[in-house]
């Protein structure tokens, strides 16, 4: 029975979640899903920080995660306010509707 997981497996899992979020930002057009994908990427980076914090016996990684979570909360508050403003102007939440500068 195994009692430990190799660190690179945990880091590869973080990379998988990060690139699922990355693909979501690239292929989806609903801006709410794009914001959720950004949250996924932030979470993957947080888990990378915690993994290295455990591997290196240093708590700087966990402190960074604390500040990243705060910045992510601020970012999603401002981002969702921008979504509301966008819906009010364009009556939609698709990113390909944002072409006010082209007209």
């Amino acid at each position: 029975m195994m009692t430990h997981v190799e660190p690179w497996v945990v880091l590869a899992f973080c990379a998988a979640i990060f690139f699922i979020g990355f693909a979501g930002v690239l292929i989806r057009r609903n801006i709410l899903i794009v914001l959720m994908s950004i949250e996924l990427m932030l979470n993957a980076v947080n888990l990378t920080f915690v993994t290295f914090s455990k591997q290196l016996h240093h708590l700087g990684g966990q402190m960074s995660v604390f500040f990243i979570i705060t910045v992510a909360a601020a970012e999603s508050a401002v981002g969702l306010a921008l979504v509301i403003a966008m819906f009010r102007t364009l009556r939609g939440v698709d990113t390909d509707q944002i072409r006010l500068l082209r007209e």
Binding site: H57, V78, F87
Partner: protein, 182 residues
């Protein structure tokens, strides 16, 4: 690392499946609830990695505050009509998104697997943290001594975010207030 493989692979599988559902579901509400699953699975992995304070904050801030914000906005905009915009996406954009993600993911796995394991930077081993009073206590003491400046700057950031969110989302008045009072 000395963590339980059963629970790690359980949480990792849940997180991978739920995050794939976040980007593939048609309905934004379904995506939001899949995202809640991802956040809970991540909190479980943080707890496995002895980051208890981060696990608690993850559930409180992400699964609590941020997801409530997302659901409020989805319901406020009544944007929960299913729209499978994935199929409308440009084929080149889809191909580039998928292939680029897979290639970069493979590169990351290769890099993580083949890099030598780094030497420990500090002395915060699990035993030392346990002897000093546990993860939350050690982290809180660090937060209010070594990291006090970023902690205080965070409050400025949150204030700016509050003011910014209210200013952006506020409905613009079409008439000046004096004119309306007459």
């Amino acid at each position: 690392m000395e963590i339980s493989p059963i629970f790690f692979y359980l949480f990792a599988g849940v997180a991978l499946a739920a995050s794939a559902m976040v980007i593939l579901k048609r309905n934004p509400v379904a995506s939001a609830f899949s995202l809640v699953m991802v956040f809970f699975a991540f909190a479980g992995i943080y707890a496995l990695l002895d980051a208890h304070l981060i696990a608690a904050i993850q559930i409180l801030v992400y699964a609590g505050a941020i997801m409530v914000l997302f659901l409020f906005v989805i319901m406020l905009l009544s944007a929960d009509v299913p729209s499978f915009d994935l199929r409308r996406a440009h084929p080149v954009a889809r191909a580039v998104g998928g292939v680029l993600s897979l290639v970069l993911f493979g590169f990351f796995v290769w890099a993580f697997k083949n890099s030598p394991s780094p030497a420990p930077l500090g002395n915060f081993t699990a035993e030392n943290i346990e002897a000093a009073g546990g993860n939350s206590r050690v982290l809180s003491e660090l937060m209010f001594s070594e990291y006090i400046l970023p902690f205080e700057l965070t409050s400025v950031l949150l204030l700016a975010a509050i003011i910014g969110a209210v200013a952006i989302a506020k409905r613009k008045q079409s008439l000046p207030t004096e004119g309306r009072r007459k």
